[in-house]
Amino acid sequence: MKPLLEVRDVSLSYHTLSGETAALSRISFDLMPGEFLAVVGPSGCGKSTLLNLICGLLTPEEGSILMDGKPVQTQTSRIGYMLQKDHLLEWRSIYKNVLLGLEVRREITPEKTALIDEMLRTYGLDKFRNARPSQLSGGMRQRAALIRTLVLKPDLLLLDEPFSALDYQTRLNVSDDIGTILRKEGKPAILVTHDISEAISMADRVIVLSSRPATVRSLITIDLDLPDRTPMASRNAPGYKRYFNLIWKELNEHV
């Protein structure tokens, strides 16, 4: 099978007047269609930079990033990006917020709006379509943000610590929620997180990065042997603890 995304020997440095900081150094990995990949690493190691490169907000100084064999561009590519906060706009209703992506892409069609209606219904936000974001719970807001991304029918989803702004309990619920939705929709995704258990519970493979400049420490395939891999079930699987210790060791060995 051909990989959906190929990251080849990517390096990037940040330039400021006071000097140059190497952020990423020769990063390489592939993402298969339908695969859920998690990227863990010490904070400030360049995880978010990696996502910015993949979606085309930044261009690698060396190496290449190919999606379906072609270089990525923000304007044209079908890459969905979920940021750390939901960034729902308070001056718009939930429906209008979900519509934002289609609006800026000038792709509002009857089929697309029907899809929004359907997704709002499926994910329990139909009642809130005219509500303001502040009237929703943290979990519902994340779901709205996810729908905003999914209606663009992205071929790949990037998640930049999308749960980090939530309190612990909500966080578990929401990651379970979002993880289940993504599995159901069969979307390939890359999740950046510093939470090891979140990575194991959601991903098929985990990439461990070293501290700055980030290099790929190891690639760990998560095989929990579950019939239904929801994040909650994964957290309770027998193999979970072993993976946790493995990644923990990988992260700490190289500090």
Partner: protein, 265 residues
């Protein structure tokens, strides 16, 4: 209706009392001031020729209302203020948008804006009269000159503070810089634009009066200058009172607009 506890009732009562006291004191101070002024003028404690008196001001007001000369003075000042205000808002937002679009342009123009903003604009008024002539257009420009530079700086600073993460959201959704402006920067700056407008209306009035001082044949500013030169100080004081009312009314209208807009966005 749910039940209100006695303690809550007491609190509300206290709050209401407090508010009533403040309003009563305001009215009382104003009434006492008018009363003292009138009494001292009549008793000859102050020279009513230069200090006038509330009754004289009232009488003059009624006379000028009768011969309708006052309305044209008030009208022209109001129109000049409103036109210069509208231009200030439109040009201010427009210029701030341009500066936001090009950070290089804003960096180049920054020192000029700072100098123009801190310059006392009344210094420009005589020049404007010479250049543009003693007409309504000049006075409108004088009104704008007081408000525009500060409002450009204010608005631009506000635009730049729009959440960069939200702007990134637009980019990741596939939007352009224009979308960032229309979907994020402008909507999130609505409260700022409204509060800038509130400040601007007062500043435009200041500029218009300065302009009328120097080069007008009509308007409240003209009335003040004419009155002071011919020692009709009742005219001057009456115009000042009317200006107070106009300033309060314009500010009040914009406050209502602000409240309405913030509720409905």
């Amino acid at each position: 209706m749910y039940e209100i506890s006695p303690a809550q009732k007491q609190y509300l009562k206290k709050h209401r009392r407090d508010k009533q006291f403040v309003s009563a004191m305001r009215v009382l101070i104003f009434a006492a001031f008018l009363f003292l002024w009138e009494i001292s003028a009549r008793a000859g404690w102050i020279d009513s020729f230069i200090f006038s008196s509330p009754c004289q001001i009232g009488k003059t007001f009624l006379e000028m209302c009768m011969d309708q000369s006052l309305f044209s003075h008030i009208g022209i000042t109001l129109i000049e203020t409103l036109v210069s205000f509208l231009f200030t808002v439109v040009l201010g937002v427009g210029a701030a948008v341009l500066l936001w679009i090009s950070s290089r342009l804003s960096r180049i123009l920054e020192p000029y804006l700072v100098v123009l903003n801190s310059l006392p604009k009344s210094a420009l008024a005589p020049l404007l009269i010479v250049w543009l002539g003693a007409n309504v257009r000049t006075i409108i420009v004088a009104g704008m000159s007081v408000a525009i530079f500060g409002s450009i700086i204010n608005l631009y600073t506000g635009f730049m503070e729009a959440d960069p993460e939200k702007r990134k959201l637009i980019t990741t959704l596939g939007g352009t810089k224009k979308d960032e402006l229309l979907k994020i920067v402008l909507p999130s700056s609505v409260p700022l634009i409204l509060s800038t407008m509130k400040v601007n209306i007062g500043l435009c009035l200041v500029g218009v009066i300065i302009g009328e001082f120097i080069g007008a044949r009509r308007g409240l500013g003209y009335l003040i200058i004419y009155g002071s030169q011919t020692f009709k100080l009742t005219w001057v004081l009456m115009s000042i009172v009317i200006l107070c009312i106009i300033a309060m009314a314009l500010y009040g209208i914009l406050s209502l607009l602000e409240k309405y807009c913030l509720k409905h966005i």
